[in-house]
């Protein structure tokens, strides 16, 4: 193989790999990227049931209810204007409480309840999910 051909082959291979990776990345991003939602987004966009997303919000005051099995908990996640019911089976993070921020990973079931596989609450009492801070700020300034 001549030097020129070799360079050409390598260049073609590299370009093919880059294009392939870019296509793969784009198709996966289109499916998965808008992966974080606030309750307001959920109402606005209508998330299909069964799609894996993150739901971020504050735990609504007085909404936490524990089921008889001792490991299932239901509550409502709110962004101040809209609230979404959430059900979670598992050990809640230590700083999960009413009126504080949380992010739930999971999916909606057909009835409109969000089934969380995992709940994150920051180990910092001042924490509010960064995606939430802006939204809360907006709703608060609307109220005033």
């Amino acid at each position: 193989m001549k030097a020129k051909h070799q360079r050409l082959t390598l260049a073609i291979l590299a370009v093919a790999a880059i294009i392939g990776a870019a296509l793969l990345a784009m198709s996966a991003l289109r499916d998965q990227a808008a992966y974080f939602y606030t309750p307001g987004d959920v109402k606005k966009d209508g998330i299909p049931a069964g799609r894996a997303i993150r739901l971020g919000g504050m735990v609504e005051q007085g909404s936490i209810a524990r089921a008889a099995d001792g490991v299932t908990v239901t509550f409502r996640a709110t962004d101040g204007a809209t609230a979404v019911p959430v059900r979670f089976k598992g050990i809640l993070p230590d700083l999960f409480k009413e009126g504080s921020g949380m992010v739930a990973e999971g999916r909606f079931e057909p009835g409109g309840t969000f089934i969380a596989d995992n709940i994150l609450a920051k180990h910092d009492e001042r924490y509010m999910p960064p995606q939430m801070a802006g939204e809360m700020h907006k709703t608060e300034s609307l109220k005033k």
């Binding site: 030097a3 996966a28 001792g70 802006g134």
Partner: protein
């Protein structure tokens, strides 16, 4: 006084970095030969001074000198000494000083140890290292001074983030940083060789041990970090595709590609421009990672302080260094002569495919990590990219990469034919087919990725041993052993990942005292829950009696800890390691009716994930040792010949 001395040492080190750059630049000009000898000593003294500054900061922490603002904000007199010590880098300023210290010490080490590089290239390399240092010294001194004093020292410090109070903190950040910042040496080598137009096999042979050293520690740091997250977070997961994890994975991917292309350059004098490019990319990824983690744009346990000024400072440094290096590359790449040629079906060809796949995976991880930031910067919309994206996009490529890894090492340099190669990997292929059959029969309904993972692990595990086939094992060079063990480590790790994802069993219950629960082959009885007190925390601790079948009972003690300053709770999982997996237990909360939440996992062969990581690093260490020994031998032989001729 200690803090002032530390600050003085830091300023002096910065001044010496400036000197190192100026001397280096002048020495490379015509007629600057007189300064050639001055650059090495300056680099060594700079390394010593910055190490001294770091040592003095450690001393401030060990003595809990609360008049130093950093200590007051991040330590507490009741903290155990290990966390006082490791707490030095458990905050923004301290970790940046550790970063810069490693940069300076790495430069000093190059000045002290590197003998193979031609003198002008070495001087250019040290000058480049000094330029990187200057930017980060400026960042420390003007935007993140670790030695700042408080006018009125508080009575007590604010303590270290409890999540960080774990032995992992003493090990994970320093190893990761040495790996991260060690790649700066490769970057400086590349810049130096571009400046003196001296890219070739000798340059690659000189650079290889430095890349290998950084890569080994990066591998160890990532492995340790993964295990730390696994047991500390209490979620049972070992990789979360968190941007901060990606920040450490991206330099690793680039460094792995570099390690393979530098071998082509050293052995066959091919892939010249590409290797130089990768050396630039690898450290660029380290800087991107530093920017992501240290700028505070990500909220995570790693982001200590949110200060937009710091973010823009690092971003500016990032653009200057990466932009500068790429510009130099673009200017000089034309003068890098064409290396030697090879067939596509050859060892070089396989390594090219390896490099392309690693680069593609790197691109996918980079896009997934930066995309949310870019979207937010442009449209203000907030979104996040999670595991579904990374698994779907990077998983298939990683599997192909692993398959190529099985075939590459049995191919010949320069040219080979497909048929003999196929014959050489026939045994591993048969094994993979057997694994496919066995898994399909024993575990019907297994998902595709774990299934392919198990099959690939079996085939590649066998194929990785093929280079030793029919060889005299005692005369096989150490670096060949290193390659074999590293590749075997990849297969071992892959087997662990696939097994964990396919076969994990979980039991989640609210248990009364005395009740017994089943998970996997185990029965677990909750015997009681007692309060316990530690040095700076209190906890409730469960006593679990664990039996496997009719085997002897063992006791496990998962805890839920409460720290007083700042008020924080953490879960301390209890993990029992067995030959065939781990039993992972977490104690949750009481439900107010005398029941305690218990989460129990049986994770078959999960330990293989980190054992594989350790094997990869051990293989790297063997290769490094083998290379250094051979280089030393060659040097001695050369000296002997010269002595004879004289």
């Amino acid at each position: 006084m200690i803090a002032e001395a530390g600050l003085a040492a830091l300023w002096l080190a910065a001044a010496l970095a400036l000197l190192q750059f100026v001397f280096g630049a002048m020495a490379l000009r015509p007629g600057g030969g007189a300064l050639l000898g001055a650059v090495r000593p300056v680099a060594v003294v700079q390394g010593v001074l910055v190490a001294l500054a770091f040592g003095l900061l450690v001393l401030c922490f060990l003595r809990t000198d609360l008049s130093v603002e950093l200590v007051a904000r991040n330590s507490h007199s009741a903290t155990p000494w290990l966390y006082k010590f490791a707490g030095t880098w458990g905050n923004h300023e301290g970790s940046m000083l550790l970063w810069v210290m490693i940069l300076g010490v790495a430069g000093g080490a190059v000045a002290l140890l590197e003998r193979r590089l031609p003198e002008p290239t070495l001087i250019a390399t040290l000058a480049a290292q000094a330029v990187i240092g200057l930017g980060f010294y400026a960042f420390l001194l003007f935007a993140s001074n670790p030695f700042a004093r408080l006018a009125a020292p508080p009575a007590e410090g604010l303590s270290l983030n409890p999540l960080l109070q774990d032995p992992g903190l003493a090990f994970h950040p320093p190893t990761l940083y040495i790996g991260y910042v060690g790649l700066s040496v490769a970057f400086s080598f590349a810049v130096g060789a571009l400046v003196t137009r001296d890219v070739g096999a000798d340059f690659a042979r000189a650079m290889r041990p430095w890349v290998l050293g950084a890569w080994i520690l990066l591998t160890l740091g990532i492995t340790a970090g993964s295990y730390w997250a696994y047991y500390e977070l209490g979620w049972g997961g070992w990789w979360f595709w968190d941007p901060v994890e990606n920040a450490s994975l991206m330099p690793w991917l680039a460094a792995t590609a570099l390690l393979h292309s530098v071998t082509v350059l050293a052995t066959r004098d091919g892939l010249r421009a590409w290797t130089v490019m990768l050396a630039v990319v690898a450290f660029s990824m380290s800087m991107v990672g530093t920017f992501l983690v240290r700028s505070g744009i990500l909220t995570s346990v790693h982001a200590f302080a949110v200060d937009p000024r710091r973010g823009s400072f690092i971003l500016a440094l990032l653009l200057i260094y990466i932009g500068g290096a790429l510009a130099l590359f673009a200017l000089r790449v034309g003068t890098v002569r064409e290396g030697s040629r090879f067939d596509m079906v050859s060892r070089e060809g396989a390594l090219v495919v390896n490099n392309l796949l690693l680069s593609a995976i790197l691109g996918i991880v980079l896009v997934g990590t930066l995309y949310p930031l870019a979207v937010e910067a442009v449209s203000g919309e907030k979104l996040s990219v999670g595991p579904p994206y990374f698994n779907a996009a990077a998983g298939p490529l990683a599997l192909i990469l692993v398959a190529v890894m099985g075939a590459g090492p049995v191919m010949r340099w320069r040219r080979d034919d497909l048929l003999p190669v196929a014959r050489r990997v026939a045994m591993p292929l048969l094994l993979a087919a057997a694994a496919l059959l066995a898994v399909a029969l024993l575990a019907p309904g297994i998902h595709v990725l774990p299934l392919l993972g198990l099959v690939a692990a079996a085939g590649v595990g066998a194929a990785s041993l093929a280079p030793l086939w029919k060889r005299n094992l005692r005369r096989t060079p150490l670096f060949t052993w290193g390659m074999v063990i590293s590749h075997l480590g990849v297969a071992v790790s892959l087997a662990g990942m696939a097994s964990e994802s396919a076969f994990t069993q979980e039991t989640l219950v609210a248990s009364r005292i005395g009740e017994t629960h089943r998970v996997g082959p185990y029965s677990v009885r909750l015997d009681g829950v007692e309060p316990v007190v530690g040095p700076n925390w209190t906890a409730v601790e469960a006593s679990l009696t664990v039996r496997r079948g009719d085997g002897p009972p063992t006791v496990m003690h998962p805890q839920a800890r409460m720290f007083s300053t700042p008020p924080t709770e953490t879960n301390e999982s209890a993990i029992a390691t067995h030959v065939d997996g781990q039993l992972y237990t977490v104690l949750g909360k009481d439900d107010g009716q005398g029941r305690w939440q218990l989460r129990l996992w049986w994770k078959p062969f999960v330990t293989l994930i980190w054992a594989g990581g350790a094997l990869i690093a051990i293989g790297g260490a063997l290769a490094l040792f083998g290379r250094i020994r051979r280089a030393g031998r060659a040097q001695r032989a050369e000296r002997a010949t010269q002595g004879y001729l004289a």
